[in-house]
């Protein structure tokens, strides 16, 4: 008994006609209490404590081959059980949705810090000490570590070098133009929970308790890495302490734990240390971006150019899709894009929160600010003037887009009119004060997803899907959808997630989780409503379900009385033609007020506002929290986060949280978030859009634009640490 929908047509708003009234409300996170009381079990905490413990060994060369290691000496150390150098160990994690093993064979070293072996011992301390003491011999080879050196090999995928019209001519003819180059550094997701796995075998069947975002893919990646049948792999990830993309694909610790557990005939736990999370999971690629803007006398864009260089290891399919939002955000007839991938021996690059927009919009939105100043047009007004009617490259309509409203509404709320357009004019004691604006845009995606909903005979319900909740609110939102559709109090719905034994969902990534998994739950519930209507010989639209009571035209009874047995359905959503016919994206506008110290160049954000249009908001509180998180990432990107590679060997220098500076509480001022009322019938049957990544897109640019307004210093190399601001400040 399934309900399937392929999104070939826009969908009417059904959930909005329901009676329970819980959808959209700020229902508190249901995983909150178990998490703050320590009852939620994260991957590293599973098991009995009797597991053997593995610690990964890092390569201390940048490129070459492992020619030998003194394994025997280490095996002789107290408690050591095994030194594993199996060729199936991973070089780096799988890319998101890869669905197959990433590059294996750790004997071939491709970056400094690459896992090359696993030492397993009775205790963590024994394993760590043995891993630290393992002597490894290498045949080192010449490595390329600088993505921007002239000699570095660069790939230019043809499909990503695109041109429309003649940008050069537009630049020449332009009344106002900008031609600026920006750089953004490598970053790490720095999720609070490090990557961790506990593997146990029962005969040929493997169960992995892991910290993963997309278990349906991870299962196949793990099976492929091990060379076994995916049917024999179960992955459980009921609680994940943050992922931000770094846990999309199966990672070295999982495969290592599985191999070790099989070898030893005993469960094995492998937890990455913080330096290993930095070195051996995914980095966000650093970028160099040239942005060109050409405008007429009214500030209307006649041309946009966005040319980016990013980097990754050889043989990696992913490359940071820098120009994503540039394609659809602003008008301009003449357009040019370039995408270069430098092949370097640095930690693998992968998706980190809003891959593409998070860095691409820093440059684009700075360039828009530069254009506003060049043209003497207010930066909000400049953006409003350049909102295209249809997609400027393929002519598609936007599925929904209250972009202009976000800019106008935000400007009014923020008090934008009080901004002095001339930089360096506003002082508060030792501080320069400035305001900045930037647009937000992030493509919206629907992914195939399934969920099972069981309506129990006692008028409670259970939702089961392998979807994960990585701190985003999935448990809560799926309960709200089911409760709304089935007319049940929220407490009557339980949600079980993160287990490959449940129907496969989209997983957490690309901000598609709520819309995709939520639609699957919605569809299952629609089918259940049909079943109830059938029992009453009526049409589902005649049915009012509320607080466990069923009302149809002339009868009212309790749901429990109506049900004589459990009803089970699977909802199944698939993207369809609407993905092709329309341009889908969430939009928004960021406003920031920033203080820059006139003596030291220290920048501190004083207040920030994000106004977003993201379709139906499924839960006011979790959506807001996602936007807060995104804006905080934006503050980090603008001011502090910089994962430094040593210029000689590419190793990550500041691989701990004391020296990789994510913002602390004191760096975060009042953050206001406003959602504009919006529905998107083309997106999915819930009419929602993704929010998780929208909040970061553009956020950092609002801050650097505010630094410019405060001081007249244009920092084009992120982050805007004080040493980059200082040279432009007046002699105090």
């Amino acid at each position: 008994m399934n309900q399937h929908l392929k999104m070939d047509r826009p969908q009417d708003d059904v959930i909005g006609t329901m009676a329970q009234g819980v959808i959209g409300t700020a229902a508190p996170r249901r995983d909150g209490p178990v998490k703050v009381t320590g009852q939620a079990r994260y991957a590293a905490e599973t098991g009995t404590g009797a597991e053997a413990v593995g610690v990964l060994v890092r390569a201390t060369i940048t490129k070459g081959r492992v020619t030998g290691m003194d394994s025997d000496a280490v095996r002789a150390m107290p408690g050591v059980l095994s030194v594993i150098t199996d060729k199936r160990l991973l070089r780096n994690p799988a890319q998101g949705t890869a669905n197959a093993a990433p590059v294996q064979d750790p004997g071939q070293v491709a970056y400094f810090g690459q896992p090359i072996a696993l030492v397993v011992a009775e205790t963590f301390e024994q394993a760590r000490h043995a891993a630290q003491g393992l002597k490894v011999r290498y045949a080192a080879e010449e490595a390329v570590t600088d993505p921007f050196a002239d000699t570095t090999e660069v790939e230019r995928p043809e499909a990503k070098q695109t041109e429309q019209g003649d940008l050069d001519a537009a630049m020449t003819a332009a009344e106002f133009s900008v031609d600026s180059t920006y750089t953004t550094p490598a970053q790490n997701s720095a999720a609070m929970e490090p990557h961790a796995s506990v593997a146990e075998w029962d005969g040929d069947r493997l169960t992995l308790h892991g910290s993963y975002q997309m278990v349906k893919y991870n299962r196949n990646e793990l099976a492929d890495s091990l060379g076994i049948d995916p049917a024999n792999v179960r992955i459980r990830a009921p609680y994940v302490g943050g992922g931000f993309g770094s846990k999309l694909g199966i990672a070295p610790e999982a495969v290592a734990a599985a191999i070790a557990a099989r070898d030893l005939g005993r469960a094995v736990r492998v937890v990455m240390s913080r330096p290993q999370v930095f070195e051996a999971t995914m980095r966000r690629s650093g970028t160099r971006q040239r942005v060109r803007l050409a405008a007429d006398a009214d500030g209307r864009l006649t041309g946009i150019g966005h040319e980016a260089r990013v980097s990754n290891l050889p043989d990696e399919a992913f490359s940071e899709p820098v120009t994503m939002a540039t394609h659809f955000l602003y008008a301009g007839k003449n357009r040019k894009y370039a995408h270069e991938i430098a092949r370097v021996h640095r930690t693998c690059a992968g998706s980190m929160r809003a891959p593409g927009e998070a860095v691409g919009m820093l440059a684009l939105e700075n360039a828009m600010d530069e254009l506003a100043h060049a043209a003497g047009i207010d930066p909000v007004e400049l953006r409003l003037r350049n909102i295209p009617d249809v997609h400027p490259e393929n002519g598609k309509d936007y599925s929904s887009r209250r972009f202009a409203d976000c800019l106008r509404d935000g400007a009014a709320r923020f008090g934008w009119s009080a901004r002095n357009p001339k930089p360096g004019q506003v002082r508060d004691g030792e501080w320069f004060i400035g305001m900045g604006v930037a647009s937000a845009a992030r493509g919206n995606i629907l992914q195939e997803s399934q969920a099972r909903v069981i309506l129990h005979a006692d008028a409670t319900a259970t939702v089961e899907t392998d979807m994960t909740d990585i701190g985003t609110g999935t448990y809560t939102i799926l309960a709200q959808i089911a409760a709304e559709m089935l007319g049940l109090p929220l407490d009557s719905v339980s949600v079980r997630l993160g287990d490959t034994d449940f129907p496969p969902a989209a997983g957490s990534g690309g901000s598609w989780g709520a819309g995709s998994a939520g639609s699957a739950v919605f569809l299952a519930c629609q089918k259940l409503r049909q079943s109830l209507a059938d029992m009453l010989d009526t049409d589902p639209s005649e049915l009012t379900l509320r607080d466990g009571t069923v009302t149809s035209s002339n009868t009212q009874q309790s749901l429990a009385d109506l049900l004589s047995e459990d009803l089970t359905t699977i909802g199944h959503i698939e993207p369809g033609e609407t993905s092709e016919t329309m341009q889908h994206a969430g939009f928004g506008a960021h406003f920031a007020e920033v203080a820059v110290n006139a003596v030291t160049g220290e920048s501190r954000v004083r207040r920030m506002l994000g106004v977003f249009s993201a379709g139906r908001i499924l839960n006011e509180q979790t959506a807001r929290s996602q936007c807060h998180g995104g804006m905080i990432f934006g503050i980090g990107a603008a001011l502090t986060e910089d994962m430094v590679h040593d210029h000689r060997d590419g190793h990550i220098v500041n691989h701990n949280l004391a020296e990789y500076h994510i913002p602390v509480n004191l760096d975060i001022p009042q953050l206001d978030v406003v959602f504009l009322e919006e529905r998107d019938a083309w997106a999915n049957p819930l009419q929602s859009k993704g929010v998780g990544e929208l909040g970061i897109s553009g956020a950092g640019a609002a801050i650097t634009n505010a630094i410019y307004n405060a001081t007249g210093v244009r920092v084009r190399d992120y982050p805007a640490t004080l040493d980059r601001v200082l040279p432009g400040l007046p002699d105090d």
Partner: protein
Amino acid sequence: MRDFDYARAGSRSDATARAGAGAQIIAGGTNLLDLMKLEVMAPEAVVDITRLDLHEISVVEGGGLRIGALVTNSDLAAHDVVRRDYALLSRALLSGATGQLRNKATTGGNLLQRTRCFYFYDTAMPCNKRDPGSGCHARDGFNRILAVLGTSDHCIATHPSDMAVALMALGASVEIEDAAGDVRQMPLNDFYRLPGDTPHIETVLEQGDLITAVLLPKPVAGRQIYRKVRDRSSYAFALVSVAAVVRMEDGKIASAALAFGGLAPKPWRNAKVESALTGKVPSDDLFGQAADILLADAVGFGANDFKIPLARRTLRAVLRQATEATQ
């Protein structure tokens, strides 16, 4: 971390005897344990001194303060007399680390915390401080947080403490008990050594020495300022810090004590800077001259070049604030 013997010292002599035999003293453990986990330090034995009777802060006869080596950074910062008479010290302490760390960190341990040089912390990197003679990978590497004063060809690390910078400006001394039970005192300025060609030797302490207290002289009159410049608002080490005690008389600078963090391998104090200010009428020119003297020998290594202008600007701002007429 390698296996180690653990002993809890029952008395000072027990502590110094064990330390004399090679045990590493452990107090709050907030620095030592991290270094042991990474095997940057790998002592065979540690001696835990936290039960020793060194937790008191007491006012010394004739003025001055005696701070037990085990007084936590939190307790020291919150102490009434410190807040009233040595406010600079409170401020420096509170600008350091986090509440949790300050609850564990001790006065003695804070003085002896090791550098935060990235390359010192990574055992795969050559580092003369960790592994004498192996080289210094920081010098030509990412040296943004490292020193511009007092460096040598062998090491350019900074001393990361905020507390020690304040103590330096306040003219503190360190009290040390050795394995023979002898107690000596020395000014903090003489306690630290510059790296020279032995960057692994950071202080004058000998094996077996136990810091028992820090002594502050009688409170001096004047305005006290601690200014810390850093990469984020909290939980970041100083890029540059300035501690100042400046007393004005008749519109002139009667005395100035200045110490600097983030610039050098030790909390930095330069008497010439202070004498250039003493007896003078404050002016931007004068402050600029003071900065010139301070930074005359400063050398940057690329990424840390900015510390030189930053120190200059910060010093001038601190002096302006210290000398402006009271509102």
